[in-house]
């Protein structure tokens, strides 16, 4: 038994020895997770009140972090639509990374909201057995659950053959895990045969593909489903805020639309940041096609930032003449939230990165793209925070609070959950086949064998 443990330890150390950076990175993330664990424990033992800076503002930092991360994940789902739905082959290079990043960001984003709930366990039970169809939160939760299941199936179908290959190359525990993940035995099992001979099997029959599960059209089908459910879930997330007639800043048709646009640009920013950092971190050379795609994406991102800025300007401009909405908007323009609005929302999130992206795409400079994307992410977080907090300050607190900064415990939980998210993504990057392959051969003629050609 001891020998086995020793062997396992040596194996693990040998894996880590080659990359001290990886070791340091994971330790830092684990420390962040521990801090979050401490804050969570304190909130359970003492009172949940330590996670709120004002009882009048019940949705604050945690909900902002939730909106930020989940909306970025949903934006990735829309971006992923370019591959399977609209058939752009250069985006399909990145499908696996986008799908995995989307799943992890949405799962950990949902964790923020679960930690914010008074009784998360009841949420799981009662949203299943007695959902309120008039409530946007119920629709949002249900749609995100469906979306997650669909994307996980899509991702699994995409990486299945790679996992099987890896299982053959590895030994020991790794081999077992990889073959379990790829469900290699499923093909020859009764279920596999049943799938082949079932209605779906006959419908998808293609003489070039032996089994239904290996059919490249299947992940495309799931990709399309994921696009539809993801967009619907995102619209419902915007509606959660937009339905509340008692909150002048949130109410109206504007926010479901703005959530879609902001999802696109935060999704692009998250994808570019993660991709560039992971290449630099591992010291890998980026394939020129991937590089070209990243530059192209940064151009699209600059355009989206301009669209988002135009929408914001429209909203602010029209609200100034609307007696119902003037007061909360003035909070953003000249009130306690003005620094966040002008510096972060206008500067960090819209104007500066747009110029950086234009410059970086002219110079083909990935460092510039990375800088701009990180700025967009930071600006978007502040934007969500201000939108959510200022929306509640206007009708709830007449005289205003002295500060609107989050408490230390809130910050610890936010950092910790984000740390676990990064940890899971890093492990996925290391052990799952996420890296961009070459562009599939021949966009028109050979598209059927797209996903088998890795």
């Amino acid at each position: 038994m001891n020998e086995k443990i020793n062997k396992g330890l040596q194996y693990a150390l040998a894996e880590l020895e080659g990359s001290p950076r990886f070791y340091i990175w994971i330790s830092a993330l684990a420390a962040m997770a521990l801090l979050a664990g401490y804050a969570l424990l304190a909130s359970i033992v003492l009172s949940m009140e330590i996670l709120e800076f004002s009882i009048q503002i019940p949705w604050a930092t945690m909900v902002s972090a939730y909106a930020w991360l989940v909306v970025a994940g949903s934006g990735l789902c829309i971006i992923n639509g370019f591959g399977p739905v609209f058939g752009l082959h250069r985006y399909e290079m990145m499908t696996k990374r986008i799908a995995f990043l989307s799943v992890t960001s949405i799962i950990f984003g949902l964790n923020y909201i679960l930690l914010h709930l008074g009784h998360p366990e009841r949420a799981v039970i009662y949203s299943t057995i007695s959902p309120n169809l008039r409530s946007a939160i119920a629709w949002m939760g249900a749609l995100y659950n469906v979306y997650l299941v669909i994307v996980v199936v899509e991702f699994w179908l995409l990486v299945r053959s790679d996992l099987a290959q890896r299982a053959e190359q590895c030994e020991g525990l790794k081999r077992t895990i990889y073959s379990l993940l790829s469900l290699k035995k499923l093909d020859d099992s009764r279920l596999g045969r049943f799938l082949n001979e079932s209605f779906i099997g006959r419908l998808l029959y293609d003489p070039r593909v032996e089994r239904v599960l290996n059919d490249p059209r299947l992940p495309r089908f799931f990709g399309t489903l994921a696009f539809i459910t993801g967009v619907a879930a995102l619209t419902m997330l915007g509606s959660v805020f937009a339905h509340t007639e008692s909150r002048a800043l949130w109410y109206g048709s504007y926010y479901p639309v703005y959530f879609l646009i902001s999802a696109l640009f935060t999704g692009y920013a998250l994808l570019l940041t993660v991709t560039i950092i992971s290449y630099r971190f591992q010291g890998d050379v980026m394939h020129p096609q991937v590089r070209d795609l990243i530059i192209e994406m940064s151009q699209v991102l600059a355009f989206l930032l301009a669209v988002g800025f135009a929408l914001t300007a429209y909203r602010i401009g029209t609200s100034l003449y609307d007696p119902f909405r003037q007061a909360p908007v003035m909070l953003l323009l000249t009130g306690p939230f003005s620094i966040g609005f002008w510096v972060f929302e206008v500067g960090f999130m819209s104007v500066i990165p747009a110029f950086i992206f234009v410059w970086a795409s002219m110079k083909k400079n990935l460092g510039g793209v990375l800088l701009g994307s990180v700025m967009v992410l930071i600006g978007a977080f502040v934007m969500r925070y201000e939108f959510i907090v200022a929306g509640q300050v206007y009708p709830n607190i007449k005289e205003g609070l002295s500060t609107y900064l989050p408490t230390m415990m809130e910050v610890l939980i936010i950092i910790g959950v984000f740390g676990v998210f990064l940890m899971v993504y890093t492990l996925g990057e290391k052990f799952l086949p996420l890296k961009e392959g070459e562009l599939p051969q021949g966009p028109q003629e050979n598209s059927k064998v797209l996903f088998l050609s890795n």
Binding site: L88, G118, R122, P131, R134, S135, S239, L439
Partner: protein
């Protein structure tokens, strides 16, 4: 003539069947009714109960607050029951009494008895994701504390900012019009009403409450304002105020049902339309740049 009359009487016309045309009419009207049904006619139900607050009679003794706390087992902060300090609603204060000064006439002071207004069409019940909030047939809007998940969406939706989060029980709590105390048919009153020493609070059938409020206002010369007849589409708690609620610094709800279903559908539909526009833009982008894929291949070859 007589014969014709007789003939008309005896003609057999089955009154309770429905023809094809009638069926189609019903089919066309039913969804419209389902959609518009939530507009509702305020104060239409006769078996509904209501609470009347007459602020012009209130002396600010706060016995209603202490009775509420005693009946519902809520925590007592001893200062809040003996001072005129402003007290906010909380998980342990389901009813508050605060001194209000008329903004237009500073010498006029009124005590405000503030609690859940028990809307006829409650916005909180419409947004609760797990149906933990229900409007009982008698009138009270009640939160099921064993079902509440603590998301606080009801607080965001409430036009009166009433439901408050209890950090210890981790659920949202508010006044439930003592539905558990009031086997309403036995005519027991809610704790606050029973405790009021000057008759500023009254509990009765809704229609007689409205009549009583109008009678009192009429007797005082008609300058008073009855809050709750139109606010948020009508509420089951009526408050007689010496002037309009805006001047007294009350939370003012719009004079219509808040968070109507049709409105929610309209807002979400805008999002879906925007999503289809975005999908169209993505399609155009994909079509415009499809050659780029080919170019890359040619370069590779």
């Amino acid at each position: 003539m007589g014969r014709a009359k007789w003939h008309r009487k005896t003609t057999h016309r089955p009154a309770k069947t429905i023809g094809r045309r009638g069926f189609l009419k019903v089919l066309a009207i039913a969804p419209l009714y389902a959609a518009l049904g939530n507009v509702g006619i305020a104060h239409g139900e006769t078996r509904q109960y209501g609470k009347l607050v007459d602020t012009e009679r209130c002396i600010g003794c706060k016995r209603c607050m202490s009775a509420c706390k005693r009946w519902n087992g809520l925590k007592v902060d001893r200062y809040e029951l003996i001072t005129d300090r402003e007290i906010d609603l909380s998980a342990n204060n389901w009813v508050v009494v605060n001194l209000r000064i008329d903004a237009k006439n500073r010498s006029r002071k009124t005590y405000e008895h503030w609690a859940c207004q028990h809307c006829i069409r409650p916005a909180c019940a419409g947004v609760c994701p797990v149906k933990a909030i229900t409007k009982l047939p008698g009138g009270p809007v009640v939160i099921n504390e064993n079902k509440c998940i603590g998301c606080r969406y009801c607080f965001q939706a409430c036009p009166f900012k009433v439901p408050r989060f209890d950090f210890e029980r981790r659920v949202t709590r508010k006044c439930h019009m003592c539905y558990n105390r009031t086997p309403l048919l036995n005519y027991m009153k809610p704790a606050c009403v029973a405790a009021c020493p000057v008759g500023a609070l009254r509990f009765d059938y809704k229609h007689s409450i409205i009549k009583e409020a109008e009678r009192r206002v009429h007797r005082r010369g008609g300058s008073s304002y009855i809050m709750g007849l139109t606010e948020a589409g009508g509420t089951d708690m009526l408050t007689i105020l010496p002037t309009i609620p805006q001047d007294l610094g009350f939370v003012v709800a719009p004079n219509k049902v808040v968070n109507q279903n049709l409105d929610k559908i309209r807002i979400s539909a805008t999002g879906i339309m925007a999503a289809s526009v975005i999908a169209g833009a993505m399609y155009l982008y994909a079509e415009k740049t499809r050659d780029h894929d080919k170019e890359i291949h040619e370069r590779e070859d």
